[in-house]
Symmetry: C2
Subunit: 161 residues, 2 copies
């Protein structure tokens, strides 16, 4: 079990899960009214960033070849359009449920993956590019997504009074 | 060179360097006046977060057993005290220079480290705890610091007009 590969994978997964848990914790503390607020004057609202982070995690199913996404409909509102663009959004309760549902399903898939699978190419990079740049693997995407999530968590933390 | 260890070290270092480069880029875009502003009403100012991130990176020298820190004096102002506590701060130009100086020196040390060194325990964990929790190594600290930096970068990005 303690091969170098399995240890790296454990570290990267722990880092991703830590960020998920921090957002879970923040969501437990914020009221719906606070989540409807802008994180700073003129900036993205909490509800938008919640949907954005749910959509980004949901995109990992296809990117890692782990089956169909749970909520592809989120992309139009939370990835391809900015906040306050007049799009109809799911309710905060729905988004919170999606967030938990997506992460629970991903965690199950991740835990079932053999460590070496993480070092294989993801579905968005070509075999040719991957041969030249072997770091463009699934684990690297997870590292980048973890940093991305932390970036927006820093902003969402400003919703607290 | 392409052992699993060296590949993972490369990925983690790239992720850390990406965050450093993003802050460099943001610093090039912000005026001194913008850096003196609060990132959001009542929140930390840009100058404080810059000093805070410089202090956190500077702490890695000792944590990884890489020699003496360059700017231990930053801790009193940027780690152990909150912003606006009346402490005398270095100027923005000084802090920008420290930030670059610390990262350049760290990068040099990191590039000279053998990949397997990253999987050794850092100086803050006991040998006993490390035996039980082998993921508490230097590379794991780097992953956590990368996420921490991204967290504050999301906030500092709000300084842009």
């Amino acid at each position: 079990m303690n091969t170098p590969e399995s240890l790296f994978v454990q570290m990267a997964l722990m880092s991703w899960q830590t960020q998920n848990a921090r957002l879970d914790d923040l969501l437990n503390k914020l009221s719906d009214e606070q989540l409807m607020n802008e994180t700073a004057p003129g900036r993205n609202r909490g509800i938008y960033l919640l949907g954005h982070l749910a959509a980004v995690n949901d995109s990992l199913f296809k990117m890692f070849g782990l089956g169909e996404r749970l909520h592809p409909e989120l992309d139009a509102v939370f990835l391809n359009a900015p906040d306050k663009s007049g799009q109809t959004m799911p309710s905060i309760d729905e988004l919170k449920n999606y967030w938990k549902e997506i992460n629970a399903a991903l965690t199950k898939k991740f835990n079932a993956m053999q460590p070496q699978k993480w070092f294989e190419k993801h579905t968005v990079v070509s075999a040719e590019d991957f041969a030249k740049e072997p770091y463009r693997n699934k684990l690297n995407v997870l590292l980048n997504r973890t940093a991305h999530q932390s970036y927006h968590l820093g902003q969402m933390n400003y919703l607290k009074s």
